[in-house]
Assembly symmetry: C2
Homo-oligomer: 389 residues x 2
Amino acid sequence: MTEPASPASTERLRRQNASLVLRSLRRLGPGSRSELAQRTGLAKATVGTIVGELEALHAVAEEPARPGSRGRPGRPVALAGERYVALGLELNVDYVAAVVLDLAGGTVAHEVRPVGDAAPLEALVALVADTARPIEDRVLVGSVVAVPGLVRGDDRTVDWAPNVDIDGEVVAERVAAVLGRGPVHVANDADCAAYAEAHHGAATDTASLLYLTGTVGVGAGIVDGGELVRGGSGFAGEVGHMPIGDPAAVCGCGRRGCWETAVGLHAMLRAVEEPEVGTPLASAEAVALRARDDDEVRAGLARLGRDLGRGLAVLCEVLDPAVVVLGGYFVPLGDLVLDPARATLAERVLGPRQGPELRVGTLGIEAAALGAAERAFAGVFAGEVELAP
Amino acid sequence: MTEPASPASTERLRRQNASLVLRSLRRLGPGSRSELAQRTGLAKATVGTIVGELEALHAVAEEPARPGSRGRPGRPVALAGERYVALGLELNVDYVAAVVLDLAGGTVAHEVRPVGDAAPLEALVALVADTARPIEDRVLVGSVVAVPGLVRGDDRTVDWAPNVDIDGEVVAERVAAVLGRGPVHVANDADCAAYAEAHHGAATDTASLLYLTGTVGVGAGIVDGGELVRGGSGFAGEVGHMPIGDPAAVCGCGRRGCWETAVGLHAMLRAVEEPEVGTPLASAEAVALRARDDDEVRAGLARLGRDLGRGLAVLCEVLDPAVVVLGGYFVPLGDLVLDPARATLAERVLGPRQGPELRVGTLGIEAAALGAAERAFAGVFAGEVELAP
């Protein structure tokens, strides 16, 4: 295999080898050229060439030599943050969010804005304009917009978004028009949040993760073997509509008996007889406060937790996640809900299963936008997308 | 990237490039060297070298020139079946099975034996001995044993096999001892059957598949994006134990309300008031026969189908498979059960979803052993395992 290769295949190999180095720097942190050769299995000379090219692109940079090491080959190389960025956005019912990540994983900018009286898409477009200005001189690898709806496998078409009117094509085009550069893709919000919690948040220690959103609806992002489980049409994870709730309870989707009629935000507020105040998070914070000295509120949350555990038992039989991360309104309630859920789950756990760990998300309302930015970088780390000079 | 590479990385690249060619031949069939270069993106010279090496190994062979094409480069190259084989086995409660596949996908040998009064493992060992003799002069790439139990991510440890006593380590060692060569791995039977139906059977047209076994228990093999979904511990797909059945019904696992109490073999026989005769398949064939002129039997099967549809509705919200393949006892019953299941499912399908196609498996009782043989070859086609000379 030492004969000269065609330009196309050389190009492909070069990009693949470069992505091996980029992934290694991303996952294991800085390393000297020899360490990178060892980690990736590439020849030292190949690593030297790749590092040289990535340095010329300002994608990596040498760090100061470690004590005791001598010369260039010993100096650690690290991902550089100054040139390449990716933009993650979220378009939701009552807020929009933007996160700019750099190639080194640093957060360049992040902002959440209430939608107020504006149309959500107009609020998003305004946020994109403001976010784009400070990164005009950087290379934008790509943008991903997280939306609360079913997104087809083409990463563009939104087929069903019951809570907010979204045309994926229009969203992508409007955002691309403001940015003046692409590509812009659309993704499911729960998938993005799962991706974010897996890379930056509550579940960086596992490749097997179920993330549950907690708003009026309850959706899931599923990560297995480090990859998102998408389903045949991109619609996997609509767990809020599993028909395992009270068969008489009418869901926002028009059907009866969906799980989210028992564990969505409104079910929680009914269980503790509290009104909705502002965002799901604000409502849950108010409930958590009252639970401190109100046994009935705690009992209501325990009932909710048991309903949560019943549904998680179903999901664990199907998916066997190592970790379940609960986001949204579940976060302020924490163990008030998770402890009874854990108890119900333990009663159902099969044979030798440990059952998953239940954790609350750590990334807050920006989780989906952060995960969207991560996904915009994914092609680079997979060797599918070239870093433009 | 044209500097000389180290032996280790050259080796890795060589294997990866060779696997590109092997995969292309597998998926798209025979092709000339130029066609293979086009399909894989490799240089023609590289493809020439790879094909030469694979020819020397008897892994590929030239086919007769096509009419109108001239010279060696135009002759199609195809996977060759004569040298490399993989052994797939199944160890089950009442039968054992073996399938030998060759690299070209041909079935070299296949056999199913009832266990009778022997211990299942002894029956398997005897079958392996008989199966191994005719392939003694071939290169055995590996062996996989499908078992009806939870198999950990190490492809070896069986954690829970409620219907038959299995120690995965012992199974693998006994089989390896008879064969005199390894490696021998253990895998879940539903995963193997799903893999087989995806590659050879009822679902070769999709990368998104849910396979349901149909015996006393009901387990699932899940394929998403062409890959098996395994879960954090390898225990994904225990769908028969989703707590969505009659809360009072006691399951073989000791818990109540599992789905398989409503859709397993015994539930089906109760619904039509038939006795169990021989294997699940034989029982179902007897029921299918009676259903021809017995309205009550058909009504019983329709009730079963609706319970099946209820559970599939849960699985579709979670996994969104494009195709559901039903194996085991469901096969002889076919549309008698699947039509009411389809109707129930259609009532629950969300928004724009088509819902999955429901099909019966086409591979019969050998599905798991066939899939096990496929999985034994998987490392070769993924470029992880070298073809030994």
